[in-house]
Symmetry: C2
């Protein structure tokens, strides 16, 4: 059995206001191509198919098309679970029909104990769950943590192990030893307690979702996060995104990484403002790339965001890596002669490290107009 392991598609996610669906569709086409080239027998998607429990209609359209393409058109068996970003109920609508074409979508804890057997492998599909669900399922008030729940669940799964099959767990949680990235928020990670990797030893392979960097468990040969297909955060800028190809017919299983080429990359540029705007300084980016700028300057700069965007239209973050030196000498006299909107934009960008969004800019302009009107009355 050879399968492709991916996760954390987060269809519908926006990056600082930029719609990522076209980027996600491009990454999807590459995943599909890898599945075809590698002649995989199945595709595993380990949760967070959507970015939100209530995805937008364009997000529903996009994901539906992807699932139809893989399963109905390309005839790949699919094994998928809901993650903490998905609504199990909404994602699971239709699951009763999906299995008729070997699309196994599991959104309830109880389903995890009914393995799906494909070829030489038993797959246990464990969707994201809260400890209370395990408490109810086992009718045991002592279960307070995901860790305790997993002890019970793994034991119950082992009872279902067919001895002549390989055993793969598909799950969506925070496994111990993993290293966080910014794109899982504190709230989400805080809601989970870590599952120690040792607990997962009975499985020949564990296909995880939740953390967005494959490096999170890089020293584990058979317990892996696939990571997200796209970079969702500057902490992932240097990463190579991709999917795992897993062959179960060796012991231990053979795991091969297949990279995805970013259509538009997420790049961190650290330099002085002067260099950044100097056409003679070449940076390895395209105008459509998402750019986080780490400014090395120590002096305030007028209209910094607006001016950076003349060269890098999709600046998504602006950070100052050095302490600002705000003394009378460094204050730009030009600056106080700017119109109020420009001053506000600049101030906002300097303080928050983000540009004003179009909506915020509209509000700011309206507020300034009102203020001006009142002044003139």
């Amino acid at each position: 059995m050879r399968f492709l392991h991916t996760a954390d598609w987060h269809i519908g996610k926006k990056l600082h206001g930029y719609d990522l669906i076209p980027e996600q569709e491009e990454a999807f086409r590459q995943i599909e191509a890898i599945a075809q080239e590698e002649h995989v027998d199945a595709i595993v998607i380990a949760g967070d198919l959507y970015d939100r429990a209530l995805p937008s209609e364009p997000a529903v359209t996009a994901l539906t098309q992807m699932l139809v393409t893989l399963n109905r058109q390309d005839k790949f068996p699919l094994l998928a679970i809901s993650g903490n970003h998905d609504s199990g109920v909404r994602l699971g609508y239709g699951a009763e029909w999906f299995s008729s074409t070997d699309f196994f979508l599991r959104t309830k804890l109880a389903d995890a104990l009914t393995p799906v057997t494909l070829g030489d492998t038993q797959f246990f599909l464990l969707p994201y769950f809260e400890p209370i669900a395990a408490r109810q399922f086992f009718d045991d008030d002592q279960i307070r943590t995901v860790n305790q729940a997993m002890e019970r669940l793994v034991a119950a799964m082992q009872e279902k192990f067919a001895p002549d099959k390989h055993h793969v767990l598909i799950a969506h949680f925070f496994a111990a030893g993993s290293q966080h990235t910014d794109s899982e928020t504190q709230v989400q990670v805080g809601g989970l307690n870590a599952v120690p990797v040792d607990l997962l030893a009975p499985f020949d392979y564990v296909a995880l979702g939740h953390l967005h960097r494959k490096e999170a468990l890089q020293n584990e040969p058979t317990v892996k996060y696939s990571g997200s297909p796209l970079k969702f955060s500057t902490s992932e800028a240097a990463d190579t995104k991709g999917v795992w190809i897993v062959d179960t017919d060796t012991t231990p299983v053979t795991v091969t990484f297949k990279p995805l080429r970013p259509w538009h990359n997420l790049v961190v540029l650290e330099d002085s403002f002067e260099h950044l705007l100097d056409p003679n300084h070449i940076y390895p980016v395209t105008p459509a790339d998402f750019i986080a700028v780490n400014l090395t300057d120590t002096t305030p700069i007028t209209n910094v965001m607006q001016r950076l965007k003349t060269r890098f239209p999709r600046v998504i973050e602006l950070n100052r890596v050095n302490q600002l030196d705000v003394t009378p000498d460094t204050l730009d006299v030009q600056q106080v002669q700017q119109d109020p909107v420009t001053l506000l934009q600049d101030f906002f960008a300097q303080v928050t490290q983000h540009p004003l969004s179009d909506q915020q800019l509209t509000w700011a302009k309206q507020a300034l107009q009102r203020a001006e009107k009142e002044e003139n009355q």
Copy 2:
């Protein structure tokens, strides 16, 4: 071919704050039983499966279970379209898999020209659509109304007619001659223009959804609204709800009405306050029925809603059918000695004909507390 025609389930709808899902599940069980007793070959659901484009999770759970029961468990072929209350995109997720077990769900205008053939009948499934969709589909700027669109669509469907088959249209729009009820709002009806019934003559039967009373087209033998399974408005209080059983092997088709028994009825009681609260006056209602009260009194009544609810817990409407006679003589001195919350509740109910909701009551209490506090300062 014998099929059951229903529509306008509006799963997730609330009636003046009351959750209707349990009522809807009971009506569903009766529909299922009728389908089984009548040995129908298929079940038609002519749109508005959900009440909202973004149904709640309990609504998704309920409808999913109903569809699974009919199609996966009872093995009935299903023919369903989206209505104006549904999100075609959200409802249509999974449709590519549904057809593998003869569940034909159509949510796009273009799908209407690909009939589904079951037994001796071709079914044309036309989801709710706006004129702009027809304009784009036919690439014809002259199409401005649903009526114009239907002329083109019916002609295009006729080209697909197999001469040896019967032809049934499933659609969701406002057909001419229909009589409105309150439970379709003006906005919805306003957005549609009427399709003349004559235009639908090429079909052996037209299974319509949109209007909630089967009486809307009662003089048409083969163009029918099934109406909603539940009463959603007092204008439907006297109606008998149900489904149609349609046999296509006679010319014209044979149409039989099968009534549904309301679990908890919606009843209008018109009487004086004195009678209504008098235990010797017996009304044909149960405590769980939804009651609209038409008060015949001409004098103001203290705490009218609260007192009515002691006998009829689920009062959903209060109407005065006679002009109030508000003279100093009729004013109840007791009334002005009531506490402010009770006074407000009473006033609100008298003026709006609805009781304060729990949320409104909370707000009112908070506001009165604040006012009292300020008074005491």
